[in-house]
Amino acid sequence: MAKPLVATGHFTGCFGCHMSILDIDERILDLVELVEFDKSPINDIKRFSRPVDIGLVEGGVSNDENVEFLRMFRENCKILIALGACAVTGGVPSIRNTVPLRECLQEAFIDGPTVVDGKIPDDPDIPILLDKVYPCHEVVKIDYFLPGCPPSADVIWAALTALLSGKPLDLPYEMVKYD
């Protein structure tokens, strides 16, 4: 039997959740035994070459590129998991959500105390910001949520092993944390 395929994706987050995946220490060897990593920043594959069984996405949705890639994940993953506070709620980047986008950009690129000759970036190569930072489940259907900032390696391990063995995801009290 072919090994289940796993892909991971990164949107508006800090890569902390990916660090946490790596943080499963020597169990990463077990994991590699168990699954094959398809698209992932870990192995630097950028496009899906085939559909995968489980997708883990880190980060909220703050620009058009995030939307595009998240939708691509949804299309290509049988099970899609929102990994970490930013994917689940928008997280720290979503602190800007109560401030109008124009004010945010004005402060960051024009009025900020360290800005010299400021200008709001409009280069066609950078993604266009959305009005808010959205949690993943408002953009695509999410099958499971793993909160945490980041979720601990144990949570990720527990979730993956449960899902791969077809068991229900039932995390013990100490593993569910929002921070």
């Binding site: 997280g91 979503s94 959500n97 489940h137």
Partner: protein, 238 residues
């Protein structure tokens, strides 16, 4: 309210309430935890959060306000009620702006702990994303309304315990907010850092300055044990 002890049942367990106790108080004494957020043992009940709603002889009512009475049949830990409670906690998370990862009170927060206890992995109700005012004008205390759940504990504590009226409400419906007894901000009030009102906030809304993040992760109040464990322990000890 009864003027003598009464006996009634919660989820089939017979308990005895002292004269004048509410259902929630009697349950606490008996080591039965009824989820709650706006209730505080040193304050009169507020009836805001409705988490402590139980079914009394089949009808829903808040146990923090309902007097214990002889022969009542109370349902508390049922799937139906816990479902509603989880949804109420979820509502609070999307009504305010709760950024747990950056909050000084994370790990000691009763709202967060209640979400853990009730098994809320992620709020999926629509977010309100309303702008809410931050007031850092007071030298020792700040009010971060993003984190306010309108439990009114501060207002009750200020009035009943501190014998001041530093906090109140303003507005109605979704526009309701915590308000302070001054023309502009908290700095103009007579709130003192030692006041009960500055201590009782269940979330990180009303916090003492320069005290945040003092307890390391892993040693915080709800890191290892669900909220309510202290009450339930007294039962298992019996």
């Amino acid at each position: 309210m009864s003027d003598k002890p009464v006996t009634f049942t919660i989820d089939g367990v017979e308990i005895t309430a002292k004269a004048g106790q509410t259902i929630l108080q009697a349950a606490d004494d008996a080591g039965i935890y009824i989820p709650r957020l706006c209730y505080h043992p040193s304050l009169p009940p507020g009836g805001h959060c409705r988490l402590c709603t139980v079914k009394i002889n089949g009808r829903p009512a808040s146990s923090c306000t309902f007097p214990a009475d002889e022969g009542l049949v109370v349902e508390n830990d049922t799937e139906e009620l816990n479902d509603h409670r989880r949804r109420i906690v979820e509502m609070l998370f999307v009504e305010g702006n709760h950024y747990c990862p950056t909050c000084e009170h994370s790990g000691n927060c009763e709202l967060q702990a209640m979400a853990y206890r009730l098994g809320l992995l992620a709020p999926t109700l629509p977010y309100f994303r309303c702008e809410r005012e931050l007031d850092a004008s007071h030298k020792d205390v700040y009010v971060d309304r993003d984190r306010c759940i309108l439990c009114g504990r501060c207002a009750r504590a200020s009035r009943e315990v501190d014998h001041k009226v530093v906090f109140g409400f303003e507005g109605r419906g979704v526009h309701k907010r915590i308000s302070v007894d001054a023309p502009h901000n908290l700095g103009e009030t007579n709130l003192a850092a030692a006041d009960k009102a500055a201590e009782v906030c269940p979330t990180g809304c009303i916090m003492l300055k320069r005290k945040g993040f003092a307890i390391p992760v892993g040693q915080r109040k709800y890191d290892h044990e669900p909220i309510g464990s202290e009450i339930e322990r007294s039962r298992s000890a019996k």
